[in-house]
């Protein structure tokens, strides 16, 4: 893709995103009905849950990119994997921040070791580990390869983590339960937010990826100029 078409695409995506965000705010705060027991507090749900799902989508992208890197050994995939991991961690942090904000008034506890919240926490830790590994390896080829291996392991670990904590919750029931059903009137708002979060992720991913390829380019130029020596 040429430089100009790339930036045109980003601009279009940015405008779509801006409109989408305004729509999402409207849907979540005005259009969606007030929940009966929790009241307006429940509206955080429209941001909490999509952030989690979007974060996991980003990790899935990291997984695919890591796998592709191991096969192709092409820097492009490494840049994608890194971008996806950083953005995934960001979304998961949103989940972990909104979780207690929701839990405290609703269930009078800051933290519930509910399976979903626990999974979010563990995923967040896994991908922070991923970023830590990257930080401490200097050789770029090694960094890309090792982190790709870790990315594969981390994502394959997720279902096992999920299964283990679900089962663990079954034997140690907590005070809170996660309601599964969503009232039909709430669905439009939920799905709007979901879609907007995904677009946000894609937009950020593109920007982050672009930044990384710029930094690769800068590295190349500096190398050519020999300024580092």
């Amino acid at each position: 893709m040429s430089e100009s078409s790339r930036s045109r695409m980003d601009a279009v995506l940015g405008v779509v995103l801006l409109l989408g965000m305004m729509l999402a705010l409207y849907m979540a705060f005005i259009e969606a009905p007030r929940e009966q027991t929790m009241g307006d507090l429940q509206r955080i749900f429209y941001f909490h849950v999509p952030a989690g799902i979007t974060g996991i989508t980003a990790f899935a992208i990291n997984f695919v990119a890591s796998l592709m890197f191991v096969i192709r050994k092409n820097r492009w995939w490494d840049n994608l994997a890194l971008s996806a991991a950083e953005i995934g961690v960001m979304f998961l942090v949103m989940v972990l921040v909104t979780g207690p904000i929701w839990a405290k008034p609703a269930w009078f506890v800051w933290w519930t070791w509910s399976p979903r919240l626990t999974l979010s926490l563990v995923l967040c830790l896994l991908y922070v580990s991923y970023l830590l590994i990257r930080k401490y390896i200097e050789d770029p080829e090694r960094k890309a390869m090792v982190s790709a291996v870790f990315g594969i392991i981390a994502f394959m670990d997720a279902p096992l983590v999920w299964f283990s904590i679900r089962w663990w919750r079954d034997i140690h029931p907590s005070l809170t339960s996660e309601s599964g059903g969503l009232a039909p009137e709430m669905r439009p708002a939920f799905f709007t937010c979901m879609a907007v979060f995904q677009v946000l992720m894609i937009y950020l991913l593109r920007r982050r990826f672009y930044l990384e390829s710029l930094s690769n380019e800068l590295e190349l130029i500096e190398r050519e100029a020999g300024t580092a020596r």
Binding site: D139, P140, E141, E219, E222, R223, G226, A228
Partner: protein
């Protein structure tokens, strides 16, 4: 025997090797000179398969008079200032361990003999920890030659050796060279390098700045070149 094309290795902004082309013929003895950071070790590590190139290729081709290609895992002996020896094992145990990993059948007698040949006779059953630096390096020589490799990669192999140790290593290398083995040796000492090698290469900032057969110039001429390309400003 080895064809290196456009080989580069970067560490961030720093390039250890840039776009290096080099053809190594079978039976050649190349002495590799250059300042610290000129890319000598990096090149040897890449050739040994210990590290991956950022770009470019290393092609190992067929050995003369043999149907098989040079296999970097089984046909290369690598000797550096790191001895790769386990300090808590004895000389015998070290060599036996590596022989097992390299699929070489050696009985006790063979091992004793090999240890004797590097001047450590009588101390085979002592833990390597008790050895002096020079003795460890001697044992490392025995280790690197364990499988009589087709090609030897030597990274400052004289480190830590005393006079007789150096003489021993020179003898071993000259002998390997005479038997048609290929050697690439990174070295700082211009005289020793000139003495052993038949091709002299100076790396400068990751590229070959100078590459000539030894026969084309005298030691004095080479020294001059060496001062120009391969000495640190602080050395001069």
């Amino acid at each position: 025997m080895i064809q290196i094309r456009g080989l580069s290795k970067y560490f961030g902004r720093f390039s250890a090797l840039r776009n290096l082309d080099l053809a190594v013929r079978q039976g050649e003895f190349i002495a590799l000179f250059g300042r610290n950071g000129a890319g000598k070790s990096t090149l040897l590590r890449l050739l040994a398969g210990l590290s991956r190139p950022s770009s470019g290729t290393i092609q190992y081709s067929r050995l003369a008079g043999s149907p098989k290609r040079l296999n970097p895992r089984s046909d290369i002996g690598y000797l550096s200032h790191l001895t790769s020896l386990y300090l808590d094992l004895t000389a015998m145990e070290n060599l036996r361990f590596y022989a097992q990993l390299m699929d070489i059948q050696l009985d006790e007698e063979d091992l004793v003999q090999r240890i004797g040949r590097v001047g450590l006779a009588g101390r085979e059953r002592e833990p390597v920890r008790n050895y002096s630096r020079g003795m460890q390096q001697r044992l490392a020589i025995a280790r690197a030659f364990l499988h009589d490799p087709e090609m030897l990669l030597l990274d400052e192999p004289f480190t830590g050796l005393d006079q007789s140790g150096s003489d021993l290593l020179k003898r071993v290398l000259a002998d390997a060279h005479a038997r048609g083995k290929t050697c690439i040796m990174a070295i700082h000492d211009a005289q020793v390098g000139y003495e052993l090698a038949d091709r002299l290469v100076i790396l400068e900032r990751g590229a070959a700045a100078f590459d000539t057969p030894k026969s084309s110039l005298s030691l004095a001429e080479f020294r001059e070149q060496y001062m120009k390309n391969a000495t640190d400003l602080t050395d001069a």
